[in-house]
Structure formats: structure tokens, C-alpha cells
């Protein structure tokens, strides 16, 4: 099961963060965020304070999963872009490298065309970063060099303390 665990290190995280900040500015968006396919929020940029990003992440992943289910029923591999238009805000959701979901929330200060264009560029950069992450976790796993691992000395007591 752990073969597919996602492990994020400082270096790659700041690269992702940088890419999202860039996208946020270039698209004139309200919020940009990145979610893994299982609904865990990875990173975000923009006006996130007013938004429940955890719930948004989980629902977005559910949305992508449901759409993927529909795609397969139709004999399509995947629908990689979803777009929802609202009265004020719009949301552009795209699947990147079949692994992570990039979400851009924007209003009339931006446009769908601009968002699509910039998302496409950012996606390529993000795919490269996620490939680096995969390579790195594979390497670290084999080399026993995870001395910083939070699990190394985890005790029953630590776990019990969580539930006090």
C-alpha cells in the first residue's frame, strides 16, 4: 500500500509553491490550489483565508473521480478538464499527469481563455516537479536515509496521546 504514498520534501514543495504563486499572478485568479487525486490538499496560493480548502480539496477530488467514472463508462480514458461557471466565481479544474488536480478559482478580473492558457504552461512545469518527487521517494526508500522520519521511534504512547 505504501508504494503509492506521496512524500513531499522541502525542496520540491517550495518549487510547487513558486509555480502556484506564478500561476496565481499570471491568471489574475482569486485562488489557485493543488490537490492529490485522493483529496489531500498539497499547496495553495491566493485568497485562501475565506475558503475551507480542506473540504474544497476533498470535493474536487470526488468531482474528478466521478467524472473519471463517467469517462470510463463512455470508453474515454479520462476527462482532463472540468469547468464550472457561476454567477460571480468560476472554477477551472484540470488533471495533471494523471496524479494531481490543479484548481483555479477566478472571477471577472480574469477569463477562461487566459486561465486555460496559463494552466497548460504550469501543468508542464508541475509534471516535471512531480516526477522529481517520485524519483526522490523511490531513492530515499531504498537507502534507509530517512533518519528524520517521524515514524522511526513512534510509540504506542504517542498514538494513545492523540486520542486524549
Amino acid at each position: 500500500m505504501s508504494g503509492s504514498d506521496l512524500i513531499m520534501y522541502e525542496e520540491e514543495f517550495s518549487k510547487i509553491d513558486e509555480e502556484l504563486q506564478k500561476l496565481y499572478i499570471q491568471t489574475n485568479a482569486k485562488v489557485v490550489f493543488l490537490v492529490d487525486k485522493n483529496g489531500q490538499l498539497i499547496a495553495s496560493a491566493g485568497e485562501t483565508r475565506e475558503i475551507d480548502t480542506t473540504s474544497l480539496a476533498s470535493l474536487t477530488a470526488g468531482n474528478i473521480a466521478a467524472t473519471g467514472g463517467i469517462a470510463r463508462l463512455l470508453g474515454e480514458k479520462e476527462f482532463t478538464i472540468l469547468f464550472h461557471e457561476g454567477e460571480n466565481d468560476n472554477i477551472h479544474i484540470s488533471l495533471i499527469g494523471q496524479r494531481v488536480i490543479l484548481v483555479v478559482i477566478f472571477d471577472k478580473r480574469s477569463s477562461l481563455g487566459l486561465v486555460r492558457l496559463r494552466v497548460k504552461k504550469s501543468s508542464e512545469a508541475l509534471v516535471t516537479i512531480f516526477n522529481e518527487i517520485t524519483n526522490k521517494s523511490e531513492k530515499e526508500k531504498g537507502s534507509d536515509s530517512l533518519d528524520e522520519s517521524p515514524f522511526a521511534e513512534i510509540s504506542d504512547e504517542d498514538i494513545d496521546n492523540l486520542f486524549k
Binding site: M1, D5, G39, S58, G69, E148, P150, F151
Partner: protein, 195 residues
């Protein structure tokens, strides 16, 4: 599939509550939500029909505390129990780290329990998981009802491997946190094995 973030020092794990329709999966989450400190929980999201039957899933994020400086978060999900939502159920199991099977203790629901457990096994296998290798806890729910099957015979039927099990009354709370705590512990121990 857990998500370990060394940058923000967070560990995120996904636990799915599975079981036949009306067995009390959503009720389990509602009780956890009700009894958890506001600073430890996010919103309880329910994608349900007008009659409060789960349509897609319920979702409850819990941030329980720290282990070795890492914030530990559990994302609790339920699946829609009704048979015809099979396609949705499959999707929720993606990336699962631990499973709780909520069994309905009423005698007339035994067949539904067996069917749901079989469905769980098949759906996990489709995602490349083996129930026998996953952190897994069983809750015999609705023990307060008059027409319940004895726990021994339920275990014989649903729990041949004798995985950790608890009696529960999700509406009022007994067994709810015991179940969650047990599966969470198994998930963390499993992570410890790998990292």
C-alpha cells in the same frame, strides 16, 4: 495512500467507513463530529439525498495532534451503502489507508452485511488492495436494538480472521471512538513499518 509532507510537517491518512445501507456509517461520523473539539475538526460534508441517504460520500477531516512534531490528520469518509451506488463506492476507496466495516447487528440484516463485505473485498481488489493486508476494524453496530444477533455468531460470519472488533451504538456513542482509535492506530503502525 497517505500523504507525508516534510515541508509543512503533516501526515494525512484516509479512513473509509464501509457497510450495508442504513448500518450507521454516517451516524458514526456525526457522533465523532459532535464530540470533537472545534479546533480539531473541519466541516462535516455530507453529499446526501433529500431523505438523508448518502449519495456520494460524507467527509470529516480530523487533526488529532502531533507525533514527533508532525501534525497528524485523518480524513474520514463514508461510502453510500445502498446497493445501486456501487460505482460511487468504488471511487471512495481510492487511496484508502484503513477500513472500518460497520455491520448492522439486526438479525434480518445479516445477509446485507455479508453482501457488503463481499462487495468491499471485490472493490478493494479492483484498486489493487487486499483487505487482509489493510488496517481493518469491524464495528457491530446497533447493539441497543432488541432483535440483534449474538456477537459470537456475527464474528463467525463476518470476522473469520478475528480482526479487532467493537460493539457499537453509533447514535449515542458507545464504541464509536474505540473503533476509530483502533483503526487509526493500525494505520500509524503500518506507516511505521514502511518509513
Amino acid at each position: 495512500m497517505s500523504f507525508i509532507n516534510y515541508s509543512s510537517r503533516e501526515i494525512n491518512c484516509k479512513i473509509v467507513y464501509y457497510g450495508p445501507g442504513l448500518c450507521g456509517k454516517t451516524t458514526n461520523l456525526q457522533y465523532v463530529y459532535k464530540k470533537t473539539n472545534p479546533d480539531q475538526k473541519g466541516k462535516l460534508i455530507s453529499l446526501a439525498t433529500e431523505t438523508e441517504r448518502t449519495l456520494f460520500f460524507d467527509f470529516l477531516p480530523l487533526a488529532l495532534g502531533d507525533i514527533k512534531g508532525f501534525k497528524v490528520r485523518f480524513h474520514l469518509y463514508t461510502v453510500p451503502g445502498q446497493v445501486f451506488y456501487a460505482a460511487s463506492r468504488k471511487l471512495i476507496l481510492k487511496g484508502v489507508d484503513g477500513v472500518v466495516f460497520v455491520a448492522d447487528s439486526q438479525i434480518e440484516r445479516m445477509e446485507a452485511n455479508i453482501e457488503s463485505l463481499e462487495d468491499l473485498r471485490i472493490n478493494l481488489a479492483e484498486q489493487g488492495y487486499d483487505l487482509d493486508k489493510l488496517p481493518y476494524t469491524i464495528q457491530h453496530n446497533k447493539r441497543d436494538l432488541p432483535n440483534v444477533a449474538p456477537v459470537e455468531s456475527m464474528n463467525k460470519l463476518l470476522n473469520p480472521r478475528n480482526v479487532p472488533w467493537f460493539e457499537g451504538v453509533a447514535v449515542t456513542g458507545p464504541g464509536v471512538f474505540e473503533t476509530l482509535k483502533n483503526v487509526a492506530k493500525q494505520v500509524l503502525i503500518e506507516l511505521k513499518k514502511h518509513y
